[in-house]
Amino acid sequence: MWEQIAANRRKSFLLVVGAALLLMALGWFLGEYFGGRGFGPFGLGIAAVVWFVMTLFAYYQGDQVMLSIAGAKKVDKADLPILFNVVEEMTLAAGLSRMPAVYVIDDPAPNAFAAGRRPENAAVAVTSGLLRQLNRDELQGVVAHEMAHIRNRDIQLMLFAGVLAGAIVILAEVGLRGMWFGGGRSRSRRSSGGQDGSAIVAILAIALMILAPILAQLIYFAVSRKREYLADASAATFTRYPEGLASALDKIARAPQQLGGVTQATAPMYIINPLKRAGKAAANATSTHPPIDERIRILRSMAGAGFAAYEESYRQATGKQGVLPGSALKEDEARAPRSGEPEARDASRRTIARQVDDFFYRQGGYRRIECACGTVLKIPPDFRAPRAGCPRCGAVHELG
């Protein structure tokens, strides 16, 4: 496990260097193009400052911003005991020293994400729609997937990659607009000497403005997809029950609702890309997540619950070489899968659904009346009638 994290850091570092070089090159040529010859370092400086500020912001505020864009509310054990227990269980399975904070988003679309720059101050957020639709085994699979993102330091990696890609997109955008409106100085003023040089600079600058954002996003998406496979494999290892996650992914993909509060930048953090319609997600270079059907198929045809079983199943399903880092395979414990509890499924689903409903009723200021016959009436704050009847025993409860 420790080696795997180290391997991620190396990869994270290489990625940052690669994308940073791209950003610097873009800055340099933008400077040369708009400022004239010799302004390259100036452009490079601006690019570095943009990147630095964005990184600082994302590093210190990113998780909070993401949680608040999504409208996430922090919960504790008394609010949602089962969710809290499942997160605790997966914290132990992942061997994290601190349990992540648990957040719930009031949205009928089932989805989940992890946030936080270090495992010590991470957070797991799930939507109420997810809680209403999944049973305990499935919920455990989803939480395990998010826990894997935290343990594998994917959030940090995606944060850096995302910020770099974002900075490149912004710079290229600004450059293209500048060219549209004012044009480069090299064409208007510098007629003497360096004609050829500035022409080359101009071509390179334009090419970079068009290609760099595409390239940056491709790097970002490629890394993101790889991390998804690893997180799925880790989830199977943590829970020793691949079917839990597979069946959860199936339900999430088939849900008709569209998640609110998501931006292009935060989409890769979710367990399933919330911006793509289910079924249409193709395995192309511009998707942040691998196709859902393929993820499900790989999980369902695993012969065990370890990394090696996942890798083998991936090869079978895609015909490709393999997807997991060698370090993950090396430490594989070849864990035996455990069996799920199909007959208990709907019962656990109902319990979880009631817990999440009651949490939001409490938040919304609903009144709770326990009727003597065993029903519970939940009266909204804007209820107009002076009394409410119990449909079971006919008792009338005065609301006064």
Partner: protein
């Protein structure tokens, strides 16, 4: 005259540095084993503390199951009396099995199963049982890393010098494994 002496000195320094490196990694592993055990221990204690509550709740409903209830109480007492970690592991296995039987028997008491209090306790106990399982898994992996280092060359030399020992695995007995309560909600 000075030169060979320097080489010998240098070699000694290198050897000591190497030994110190191994020693430090052994200490690190031992601490990690301790941490992992602490995680298991927290959950075992939690289970220990939940049982009186459970007994109080089921007592009224399951008055005909004296033997089953007694077995849980005795298994809990055995855990309380266990001294060393291997002894403790043995006793905890017995408790897991006794609890498993209690939950299996509870299936035939619909009133008990419908009680809010029992449902909450059952979720707590099954989740604690899961947590013990996951923490145990992590603990055993850590112990294996430690024991490999202690037994294999060159770790075994340093381990022998400073009295590092093999740590005990947390194995679940066959019986306990079979009887372990399943995650169930009703």
């Amino acid at each position: 005259m000075m030169f060979p002496l320097l080489i010998v000195l240098g070699l000694i320094v290198l050897l000591v540095a190497w030994g110190v490196g191994i020693y430090n990694s052994l200490v690190g592993l031992r601490n990690r084993v301790k941490e992992a055990w602490a995680q298991v221990d927290v959950q075992l204690k939690r289970r220990f503390d939940l049982i009186p509550n459970l007994m109080e709740t089921v007592k009224g409903y399951m008055s005909h199951e004296r033997e089953t209830l007694e077995a849980v109480t005795q298994a809990r007492a055995a855990v309380g009396g266990a001294g060393s970690i291997p002894e403790r592991i043995q006793a905890e296995g017995g408790l897991t099995a006794a609890l498993g039987r209690l939950f299996a028997v509870s299936e035939s008491y619909p009133d008990l199963k419908a009680s809010q209090n029992f449902m909450a306790l059952q979720e707590e106990l099954t989740s604690t049982e899961n947590k013990i399982g996951f923490a145990r898994q992590f603990y055993n992996e850590t112990v294996m890393n430690m024991n490999n280092k202690v037994q294999m060359f060159p770790g075994n030399i340093v381990a022998g010098m400073f009295n590092f020992k093999n740590e005990a695995f947390f194995e679940v007995t066959e019986e306990a494994q079979r009887e372990a309560p399943k995650v169930k909600f009703d």
